[in-house]
Amino acid sequence: MRTKTDFEPLLVAFLCHWCAYTGADFAGSAGIKYPASVRIVRVMCTGRVDPLFVLKAFREGADGVLVSGCHPGDCHYVDGNIKAMRREPLLAAMLEQLGIERERFQLVWVSASEGEKFARVVTEMTDTLRELGPLNLKGGEQLG
C-alpha cells in the first residue's frame, strides 16, 4: 500500500483530439512544465468517455482522472462535451459511493490554444491529489 510520503499522484487525463489534446501539445511546444505523473489518453471527443474508462483508470491505480475537451459550443461533434457534462455529476456521485473523493474526478474545458491553462489545470489537480494522498480502493477489483 502506498503512503503519503514521497507521494507522486498518478493522474490519467482523457483529452479530446480537437481541443484539449491540441492544447496539451501546445503546452509542449511552448515548453511549459507540469508534473510527469500526468498520463494522457486521446479520444476523439469527450462524449466518447464511457464511465467504464474512468472506473478502469481508478482500478488500475490512478489517483485522479481528468476529462478535458472543447469549451461548450466548440465541440467538433456538436454537443459531445455537453453529453460529458451531463454525465459528470452522476459519475462523480457514483465514485463517491465507492469512496473516491469528488476532487479526484474533474471535467475541465481546454481549447486548442490554451496550453498554459492545461498545464495549470493538471498542476493544480496534482497538488490537490497530493493533499488527498494515495487512493487506496477498497474492493477495487469490483470496479470497471
Binding site: 480537437w18 491540441t22 483508470a57 454537443d79 486548442a112
Partner: protein, 654 residues
Amino acid sequence: MPERIGVYVCHCGSNIAATVDVRQVVEQAAKWDSVVVARDYKYMCSAPGRELVIKDIRELNLTGVVVASCSPRMHEAMFRGVLEEAGLNGYLLEIANIREQCAWVSLPGAGATAKAVALTRAAVKKARLNQPIWEREIPVNQATLVVGGGIAGIQAALQVANAGYLVYLVEREPYIGGHMAQFDKTFITLDCATCILTPKLAGVERHPNIRLMTCSEVVQVDGYVGNFRVRVKTSPRYIHEASCTGCGACERACVLWDSIPAEFDEGLGRRGAVYVPFPQAVPLKARVDGKNCLYLTTGNCRRTCVTACQRGAIDFDQKETVSEIAVGSIIIATGFDVFDPGVEPRWGYGRYENVITGMQFERMSNASGPTLGKILLADGTEPRRVAVVHCVGSRSKKYHRHCSRVCCLSSLKFAHLVREKTGAEVFEFYTDLNIFGKQYDEFYHRVREEGVHFIRARGTEVTEIDGQLAVCAEDVELGVYREIPVDMVILNTALIPRHDAEKVSRLFGISRSSDGFFMESHMKLDPVTTFMNGIYLAGCCQSPKDIPDSVAQGAAAAAQALSVIARGKVSLSPVTARVTEELCSGCRICLRTCPFQAISFDQAAGTAEINEAVCKGCGCCSAACPAGAIDITHYGTGQLLAQIEGVCGNEDKD
C-alpha cells in the same frame, strides 16, 4: 496468429533524448509481450529512420508498429504511409507522444523516462488490438465557397475562378472590397487604394465563374472536405439588382437624404435610407436600409424614391431568402474589426470633436469622401498641428495583447498625407516602431526627412488645456513629461477579431488563438489550413497583416482549394461506429445521442444500424449504449481500456 510488434523510439535530436533516457525505454519495451524488435534512432522521421521500419516490417513480418516520438498531430499520417509502403495497413500504427506530452513538459530527471515508458507501453497494448481499416474515397465537389469579400477573399476567389472552377463569394455588406475600399492611399507606394482595387472588384463582378452574393451570410455548414453543404441567408436589398444602375436618384429623393450617418464614411458623412454605398461600389446598386427606411419601419412614407427611380427598381416586397450551395472547399476571409477608442476616456474620443480614428482619417483624406479629400477640423479650417497616436488598444494588457502590425506604417502614411495636404506639423506618439516589410524602413526614413517629429511615449493621454486640445505623455527618450498642443489627434486603433468571430468559428468548427483570431494548423508551417479539413484561412481573420500579406495568403488558400479539386477525391477517416447486432437490445438510446443522424433503427432486425458515410466517429453513441453493443473502429472500448492499463504502468499484466 500472435501479434509481432516493432517499437521505434525517436531521439528527435536532443529534443526527446535530453530529457528522456531513450535507451531505457527501448530496453523496457523489448521485454514486453509481442514486441519482437525495439530500436531507437536519432530521427525516426528521416529517410533512414523510415527505412529501418520498412525493413523490419518486411524481414520480421511485423503485424504492428509503435513509434514513440512527437505528437501524432505531426507525423501520424506520414508514418501510416511508411507502413503502407511496406505492405501493412496504416492503422496498424500507434504513436506514443513522448515529445510534446512528455519530454518538453517535464524537468530532466523528474520522471520523464518513466512516463515515456508508460506512454510507449500504452501504445503497444493498443497496437496489439489494432485492426486493418481502410479510408473511404469520395469524389469532391469542384466548387469553392469564399466567405468575406475583402482583398484577401477577392484574391482567393479570382484565383480559383481563373483556374476554371466555380466560386461562391459570400459578402455580408452590400458591396465587396472590405476595409481597403475605404482607404485613400496605401503605404508604402502611396498609390490610390481605389485605383489598384477597382480592377479586382470589376474582375469579380464580370467573372463567369464567380457567383457574388452580397448582403449575405452563411448560417449553416454540414458535411466534410470535398462535400460541404452550406446554407446562405441573403437579406433583402429592396432593389431589383438587374434594373438598378446605381445612379443615386433614389438617394437624393429620399425624405431622409443626408440625415443618416454613413457607415462607409465612418460616420463623418451622411446618407439617405436608400443609398449607394460609394461611387465605385461593386456591385454598383442601391440598397434600402430596412432599419431606417420610414416606409419599412412605419408603413408611412411618400415613397419619393419609387417615383424618382426611372427604372422601377425599388421593390419593397423583397423578402429574406435562404439558398443552399454545395462546395468542396471553404475559404474564410472575414477580416477584422477596429478597436473602439471610446471605451477609455484618456484617448478623448467622443469627447473632443477633433479626435478621430485612423479609419476616419482615411475617409477624410479620400477624394470621394465626406470632405472631398481635404483634411479639416470640425469648424472647417485646416489643422496646423496634428498628433498621431500609435497602439491604441494594441499591445496593451488591458485591451489587446497583440501588435496590430500595420499601424506603424499607416501612422507614417497619415503623417505624410497630412504634411502633403496641409503642411501641418505632425507628432507621432509611438511606443516601439515595428517596421518590418519590404522597403518599409526606407519609407520610414523618407517620412522622417519630411520633418515629422517622433516621440517615444508612455502613458499617452489626450486632453484639453485651457480650451486647447493637447497630447500629454512621458517622453521615454528624453525622460521628461511633455504636453504638446495640437489641433487634431488621429488615434491609430488596433485591428481586432470581428465581433462575431466566436459565432463564425463555431459555425465552421474552427478554433481561435488566444488573441481571438482564427487559428491556423501550424503557426509556421501551415498558416493557411485549419484543423478542419477543407477549410482554409486568408487575410486578417487569421491575424492582423498588411495588404501584400493578405493577398499572398488569399492566393495560398486558393492553392489549397485547387489541390483538393485537382486530386478529385478525398479520403474519409475510417474511424466510425459499428453495431454488434447480437448485443443490441433495440433500446434506441443511441439514435438520440448521435449528433449527425447517422443511426437508424432497423425495424425488421430490431437493432440499430449505422450509416458509415454519415458517421464521424465521435463515439458518443458507444459511451451511451447500455448494452455495450456499439464500438468505434480504432478507438474501440477494448483498445482504450488496454491503453489505460498501459499508462497506469501495471507491468505485471503484460
